[in-house]
Symmetry: C2
Subunit: 350 residues, 2 copies
Amino acid sequence: MGKNNAGEEVQNKQVILRDYVRSYPKESDLYISTSTIKLQVPQGSNGVLVKNLYLSCDPVMQFQMRKADYHMSGYYYYVPGAPINGFGVAKVLDSGHPDFSAGDLVWGTTGWEEYSLIQNPGKLFKIHHTDVPLSYYTGILGMPGITAYAGIFEIGALKKGECVFISAASGAVGQLAGQFAKLLGCYVVGSAGSQEKVDLLKNKLGFDDAFNYKEEPDLDATLKRYFPEGIDFYLEHVGGKMLDAVLLNMKVYGRIAVCGMISQYNLDQPEALKNLLHIAFKRLSIKGFTHRDYHHIYPKILETVVPYIRENKVVYVEDIVEGLENGPAALVGLFRGRNFGKQVVTVAHE
Amino acid sequence: MGKNNAGEEVQNKQVILRDYVRSYPKESDLYISTSTIKLQVPQGSNGVLVKNLYLSCDPVMQFQMRKADYHMSGYYYYVPGAPINGFGVAKVLDSGHPDFSAGDLVWGTTGWEEYSLIQNPGKLFKIHHTDVPLSYYTGILGMPGITAYAGIFEIGALKKGECVFISAASGAVGQLAGQFAKLLGCYVVGSAGSQEKVDLLKNKLGFDDAFNYKEEPDLDATLKRYFPEGIDFYLEHVGGKMLDAVLLNMKVYGRIAVCGMISQYNLDQPEALKNLLHIAFKRLSIKGFTHRDYHHIYPKILETVVPYIRENKVVYVEDIVEGLENGPAALVGLFRGRNFGKQVVTVAHE
């Protein structure tokens, strides 16, 4: 890919939503199209024109592919015929905004396309530490990192020796959350959807133990095996049957931080939970949260996590596919759990 | 009923569990039997021998009629062939415990019988304020009072102008919780299961509004009608469909305090909740609790609530049946929502 000059008009490959999705998204719900874009911010705009480098595949994008649901206000829904968007890392080529200049590296919401005009760059984060892989700003130093940090350090406020369970543990958030909990001296068990992921958790990510939920016919019994005394803290990603089994196995006064329920996102009929009664019986505290509530502590997160990366105290596993044209398969694969670690799409190297 | 003398052996009418209950309890799951009891604490025991005055009908007793479930540790299960027990108000006839003397009035766990030997009286509360109806110590000044106080003042920490929804609002806890929230300057709406109960909430208990959930085909639409801006705080008693609709109508950062889910207690197949995802999307905080966590603030609760009663700032509606032999019907009626206010059984007047 050649060097682009500001003002030049270039071809712009894009990932377009074909039509609203109703159930599990399929690769054919998206298609690649090419338009043209002028590499210049329009006169009078305070936007920025960026070249996209890495795009993040995130579970919530399943919702954004659906027709807007009035209950889900706060989310941007994709528009059929237009490119989808999500978190990404990009390089500023031209700026109409006083905080950004050509050459800046940023992360935040951008389009699934080679170049994007970001009309409202106020929410972009400028990237200062570039001695770590730039793709990390879609993961450990991006939204999943904020989520894991908030879940473990802020909401969980974990104490040494506490028993912690993490579902979707090899995913973008789970792998970090587990490592953070280990750094705090907790006993940490993770669940994942393949033997390969289980091995990763135990052998590379330092979890005390891990299991493949697909091979466990009785999740209640499974959790009793790993947590004979019960669970102090559960980082909830998956919902459904797993949450139901967890409710049975929480300690009295146990805490659950909920950042997602990926198993339920595409079901027409969600799974019936039998054990919600235990919220009262066990006096559980359950707190839903999203990364958006913790953007104000991002500087503190960087101060903590960047040294962890440099000192190899945490590792971060990414599943990177090369090329925007391979984005739709990667994204749909995430919804099926086919990714191995954080799913990233490389659009261009810097 | 004549005056009893300590040491006398008397007949003791009891309510006995016939066999473990599997689904909705029926009146025939209980029967009345008469044994004898010596009105004296056995030599060397530090128990108390009490004459029972008022017995409390509480939702949790449905569980206690079942075969012990290892998940529900912390609850006492009834034994077939033996009298059931629950909260009640009683008078001490004889005491082997240094904290209690003959003539003391107490409330706490006692048997469903005329006289009980309470082996471990350490958990009984002594009654000091007797210018209020003694039956109130099964309700507003007993377990439901502690629950309502904790839910509204401690967990809810409600602020003036907040929008509060209370289900099972005419029940033992709900009617109080609603009045407490009104005293704090909140907008309070309650749901109940009959027009008569709705009228009670609006006309006598000072709720801003109320509805009969049995006549609302679309609870989501109902809640939107009463809470166009959403709900700040929900005191959860009922679970199931109501909770599912509430999740859709909570404000972002809304709080839910869960003291029970009575609609789900007797279902073989609990209702599927579709909207648990909103815990994350709306960043809800959900906290389960029971009165047992708040016994240490009971003196503070009395200091607040006794003056409220004396000054008519709160009223308390009781549904009192006379006679232990009418206890089984009253108890089973509670599980069906047949009670109008706090369900109490009078065993004897002091």
